[in-house]
Symmetry: C2
Subunit: 136 residues, 2 copies
DNA sequence: TCCTACGATGGACTGAGTCCAAGTCAAGAA
DNA sequence: TTCTTGACTTGGACTCAGTCCATCGTAGGA
């Protein structure tokens, strides 16, 4: 994720301590935090950071394609930094745990032309649901 | 959808005018209304019906498996009465139109055992995205 | 070092959804 | 038919996630 900071600088981003902290919080695999969770972790490193800044930064990162929004069961959106490696999600119906998974094949191919209703279909998002080992 | 009322009565539901109206609003194919839209349409038929009742009734219908929640881009959940015929959704990234679609094959089969991390996977929800004929 | 436009702040605001105490009424009993 | 009662409805207050905006601060170029 440290190369993220490089990429952002390359895109003309002014590098502030707030943006650095948000980018640091969003590092690692299988990280799927809500905006408030990102804020809570950011506050540990930079106590003055505001919620609005976290929302702004997350929104900008989504626009740049550096992270993706994951809409799950709960009310709050989650943010997935693993945007450069296409993947799907496996969600536990019990505790809400999310794992990144890589199914075989391309789900787009499963939608026959007569089921496309004239749409230009560009993307298929798959959410697998079940129970994790702890909840099962 | 009128047999829905029968099924609900069979389950011991007290049949009130409010519940009847909510069930009537949620009839037909390709209906994907938000709670507020359901409320707006219900008010046309029963001006005194409250938002709380609409939320309660929708929640109960979801619990009974008579309708399903569809979480889309927007903030508000949508409700899909087509719960007894398994299907997936095709969403227009432009205008938000939703169509029910029936892909071939079972997406559950595309998730190999080594990608299940010990989960008992029971369900796969696929959202296809693209542009509808009007937006393309 | 100075400037300034970009970014941060925090408080008010919105929209979706939940909660709750009080009132209403569907449907079974008499 | 009327009575009874507990399930259902109501509306207003509340919560939670997210947005907006006027003002202040500062990164980084001159």
């Amino acid at each position: 994720m440290s190369d993220l900071l490089e990429r952002l600088r390359g895109r003309g981003w002014r590098m502030t301590s707030q943006r650095r902290v948000v980018a640091e919080v969003l590092s690692g695999d299988h990280v799927h935090l809500t905006a408030d969770e990102v804020h809570a972790r950011a506050v540990e490193r930079l106590p003055e950071i505001s919620r609005a800044t976290v929302y702004n930064t997350l929104g900008e990162l989504v626009t740049l394609g550096e992270i993706v929004e994951v809409s799950t069961e709960g009310r709050a959106k989650r943010y997935d930094p693993n945007a450069h490696h296409p993947h799907q999600h496996l969600v536990c119906s019990g505790c809400g745990t999310i794992r990144d998974v890589h199914p075989v094949g391309d789900p787009l191919c499963d939608l026959p032309p007569d089921q496309r209703y004239g749409f230009v279909v560009s993307e298929a998002e798959v959410t697998y649901r079940g129970l994790c080992p702890d909840c099962a």
